[in-house]
């Protein structure tokens, strides 16, 4: 695969996605087949799909299991949320725009770390930069010390929990348990009108298609090969001269940046961001999305993210108490029945059909039955 054909490998499915998401769905909406409500839902799903893409990069390709991706999602969501709060809030005592919850908490001046978020470009850049830098620091502290596998996963989970705890505290001035709420408008456009939400959908879809193309190009490049080899036998790759820690830090930071982007696109479409979206459970959910869709395929991450969140919207409306059980059951089911995820189902079916066919039409010799303990390649 040449350099240019890595691009081709990325652009073709990217184009298909673009047509589907940038033209197809909005068209259905304009023609009245898809309500504004569902289009907005889809916008949220696509934002989460970007988060899933990053997860697939680090887990499906590089073999790094992070149970804390929701942290970086949260950084991005809070960054955008802070801008939206400032944009929507009334005048404080000193003439500064100051969010309501601070007024209630008797905070009279805007804390210094809120100030940069008055400006949209700054908020957007920070939404991407803060997760990336945080991931770099975390990566340097862990990957350079060769912390990996289970220990790394546990550390990320601990970080997720710690971040959640921090964001819950009122002293942090991030809205405490309630989080940042009641976003009213963006650039003067109300966040409650269908036309604004339609534009948000298009922007999200555009970023998703762009992220997908970039990820697809990356895994088709030589780096993609290095990451796959790293997942297979990291130590052997060291003895071929590759600085493993650098690669891990890079891909972890990239995934964090995608998570931040995801959060920044999610917040305005949902209208609220709370600590419950950035802790241990949301982080685990991302893993379930990618596993169900099929890890290591990128498209599987998209399918999983959209599919499971769509299922959740459907089911929690009718059976809210059952959702955690369904989610858990789904994960167990995928691991047992469809280890390659949804994306792998066609291949599995084909194999089953072929096996059934050979058993039907081939006459077995005396007393020989294929041993179920047979392994594949030896």
């Amino acid at each position: 695969m040449t350099h240019s054909s890595a691009w081709k490998q990325a652009l073709l499915p990217g184009a298909v996605l673009a047509i589907l998401l940038l033209i197809g769905l909005p068209l259905l909406n304009t023609l009245g087949f898809l309500s504004d409500y569902y289009l907005n839902l889809f916008g949220k799903y696509l934002a989460l799909a970007i988060l899933a893409l990053g997860m697939d990069l680090i887990w499906g390709y590089a073999g790094i299991l992070s149970l804390g991706q929701a942290i970086f999602f949260g950084f991005g969501a809070y960054a955008m949320g802070m801008y939206l709060m400032l944009a929507s809030s009334g005048q404080g005592v000193y003439g500064e725009r100051i969010p309501d919850f601070m007024v209630w908490n008797r905070v009279t001046t805007l804390p210094f770390f809120w100030k940069p978020f008055q400006y949209f470009p700054v908020a957007l850049i920070l939404a991407l930069a803060i997760p990336a830098v945080a991931a770099c620091i975390f990566g340097v502290l862990t990957f350079r010390r060769r912390v990996s596998g289970t220990y790394f996963a546990i550390l990320t989970q601990a970080m997720a929990f710690a971040t959640w705890l921090m964001c819950n505290r009122n002293e942090m001035n991030l809205g405490g348990t309630n989080g940042l709420t009641d976003f009213k408008s963006l650039f003067g456009f109300s966040l409650h009108t269908p036309s604004t939400l339609r534009v948000l959908y298009l922007v999200t879809a555009l970023f998703l298609v762009g992220s997908f193309i970039v990820c697809k190009w990356l895994v088709g490049s030589k780096m993609g090969l290095v990451l796959t080899a790293m997942r297979d036998q990291e130590q052997r790759l060291r003895f071929l001269g590759y600085p493993i820690a650098h690669y891990k830090i890079f891909i972890f930071a990239l995934a964090a940046m995608l998570a931040g982007l995801s959060g920044a696109l999610y917040a305005p479409q949902v209208g609220i961001i709370t600590p419950s979206q950035i802790g241990v459970l949301p982080s685990l959910e991302v893993v379930v999305w990618v596993a169900t869709g099929g890890r290591g395929t990128l498209i599987g991450a998209l399918l999983g993210a959209v599919g499971i969140n769509a299922a959740r919207s459907l089911l929690t409306a009718r059976y809210p108490e059952w959702w955690p059980i369904i989610l858990g059951g789904l994960f167990v089911g995928v691991v047992i029945l469809f280890p390659d995820g949804l994306v792998g189902i066609p291949k599995q079916l084909r194999q089953r059909i072929r096996r059934a066919r050979t058993q039907l039409f081939e006459r077995p010799a005396s007393g020989s039955v294929p041993s179920p303990s047979g392994r594949g390649l030896g």
């Binding site: 010799a365 039955v369 294929p370 041993s371 179920p372 303990s373 594949g376 390649l377 030896g378």
Partner: protein, 231 residues
């Protein structure tokens, strides 16, 4: 003792063994020769039950093996030493050997002294974890562990690989003695031709999944060697 008829084995969709017939009489050493990748290891794995047969039969002491799982085959008396030092790295040398005793249903028995006579290095390392042994020591341990189970059929896949010459001579002696006692039959895959020559009663030469030649080791001609064992 062991008879194979019309064996056909597949990996997924590709056939790797075609119509293999092979016979290992009791008390004899049979050697499988052939280049890399012709299917020698595949054949041993099929005998052990680690690979399913598409068709064909394997009988051991007159009994059909294909209905038995690998562990059942081991309990019937087949000892398998796979290529590549497959020992338990987290168990000590002593524990590795005792695993063999369990297979014979004598969990608290003692390890036969002959084992340590053949592999004196192992006796000095009984408490060492298998993973800390050198490659060659691990190979010695793998063979010793199979011998502990006192099999009637021993499947050896490149047993001399990575072993120092003096121990190779010892292994040769052990196999000679086992042959003379007449209790064990041995099916040997071996690239070290001198070793095979001195031990084997009968040889089979394989090429691309098929047995192309069989006969007595003395009959092995130079041109055959060139044709099937050369690159």
């Amino acid at each position: 003792m062991l008879t194979m008829q019309s064996l056909n084995v597949f990996y997924g969709d590709s056939q790797v063994l075609w119509d293999v017939q092979l016979n290992v009489p009791p008390g004899q050493v049979v050697c499988l020769l052939g280049r890399n990748g012709v299917g020698k290891t595949t054949l041993l794995k099929s005998i052990m039950g680690l690979l399913p047969l598409r068709s064909g039969s394997i009988t051991f002491h007159g009994q059909d093996l294909t209905v038995l799982s690998p562990d059942e085959r081991a309990r019937r008396g087949i000892g398998y030493v796979p290529q590549g030092r497959d020992i338990f790295p987290d168990l000590t040398v002593d524990e590795n050997l005792r695993v063999g005793l369990v297979a014979r249903g004598t969990k608290n028995g003692t390890i036969p002294a002959e084992i340590f006579q053949r592999f004196p290095a192992l006796q000095t390392m009984l408490a060492r974890k298998g993973g800390l042994l050198s490659g060659g020591q691990q190979q010695q341990l793998a063979i010793a562990r199979a011998l502990v189970t006192q099999p009637t059929l021993l499947l050896l896949d490149e047993p001399t690989e990575g072993i120092q010459p003096s121990i190779i001579l010892d292994i040769e002696e052990s196999i000679h003695r086992l042959k003379q006692e007449g209790r064990m039959a041995i099916l040997l895959v071996e690239q070290y031709l001198d070793f095979a020559r001195r031990l084997a009663d009968h040889i089979y030469v394989m090429e691309q999944g098929v047995i192309v030649l069989e006969g007595k080791i003395q009959e092995l001609q130079e041109d055959v060697v060139k044709r099937y064992l050369a690159v």
